[in-house]
Amino acid sequence: TMLGFVTTDAPVGSEALHALLRRATDRTFNMITVDGDTSTNDMLVAMASGLAGGEELTPAHPDWSAFASAVIYVCEVLAKAIARDGEGATKLIEVRVSGAESDASAAAIAKTIVGSSLVKSAVFGTDANWGRIIAAAGRAGEPLDPDTVDIALGPILTLRDSQPVAFDEDAALAYLKGDTVEIIVDLKLGGGQATAWGCDLTYDYVRINAAYRT
């Protein structure tokens, strides 16, 4: 279960706050996965005291975009912290998809990749297994040209136009041993882009969850 609580002293109304919270949620908390299981209790609540004073912030106010950025940033930090603290996790995985047909399509592909048990276990094992990444992208149910996909692990390009690229395995191993692993996918179809976060899958995940109730 994830629970989130946002507080602010900005003067903002409930309606504007609700619209912003939904937007922030879609870009942050709804873009993380640890184990693919959606809880019965997930909840995110925001409270705005207004005690900072000043002009009421509405979407029409010139400072609204700065306020919105702050709320989205706070939600993103918390969402990434949840992903990094996934049960048994040793690494944060960030999947950035670009070149999709739409942002929604990119989001679906990014979340499918970051939720793949095979991708997650490969990251745990520091295996630069691009095959599992493109396979996950291809089964996401979104438009994809199987001949134009580029995949990089951080700075290391492993696939160009869906064909394997020779890369330094030692450099890839060193990169995958880091605390954060970036998986960068360019579909070269359109302008859609999205980022999703998750964690590696480890033996400890099973240990923790095999006896959670008892």
Binding site: T7, M43, L44, M47, Y212
Partner: protein, 205 residues
């Protein structure tokens, strides 16, 4: 803490500043705290609250899982009553999910008991639970904790830290962040706290 480990990369650089020692109690008007009431087998905090000194404009999103825990219904009703909250009460160690009519009654009782203890209107209290599914809340322990909680709420970092501890389940670290920015002619703060480690694939709306 999450705040010290994160940067503002990808966000407008000049829009806000990370407050390194900030928390949910940094924005004006908020107190928070937590205590151990006996829901967890360990002696760690398992009941916490955030209290606002004025009725705060409020909003929430909830899991879209068709099976939803009882506290979500109580919180929805609070927000529907006027869109303002004075308090957020949370317990860990028990999800109060799949607990039937008794679970719903327990969620409403938590809301009413904290409203009375904190001296705020019933419809301005939200409740949340996290932990094991399918077990009844030990309400004698919850009642006792709620009675003590208002006196434990503090405006500083200590209160926020206690709250962050109280909401954890299998989490290894507390999750907290705070930023400040200039907006509407004043310095305003936006802060957050969260918990989450397993059963994580949120789809909230």
């Amino acid at each position: 803490s999450a705040s010290s480990a994160s940067s503002a990369q990808g966000h407008p650089a000049a829009a806000f500043t990370v407050v390194e020692d900030g928390s949910v109690t940094t924005p004006a008007g908020f107190r928070a705290g937590g205590l151990h009431c006996g829901l967890k087998k360990t002696d760690r905090h398992d009941l916490g609250a955030i209290l606002c000194e004025v009725p705060a404009a409020a909003a929430a999103v909830y899991t879209t899982n068709k099976v939803q825990a009882a506290p979500l219904q109580a919180t929805r009703e609070s927000l529907a009553a006027g869109g303002r909250l004075r308090a957020m009460l949370v317990n860990s160690g028990n999800a109060n999910a799949c607990t039937g009519k008794q679970g719903l009654a327990d969620a409403y009782e938590m809301r009413a008991a904290f409203a009375a203890a904190a001296g705020v209107p019933l419809e301005q209290v939200a409740v949340a639970s996290t932990g094991v599914i399918g077990e009844a809340l030990k309400m004698d322990r919850v009642r006792s904790g709620i009675a003590q909680l208002p006196a434990r709420l503090k405006a500083g970092a200590e209160g926020a830290d206690d709250f962050c501890q109280a909401i954890l389940t299998t989490d290894l670290v507390k999750k907290s962040v705070c930023v400040s920015l200039q907006a509407g002619g004043r310095t305003v703060h936006v802060a957050g706290a969260a918990k989450g480690s397993g059963m994580i694939h949120p789809n909230m709306a």
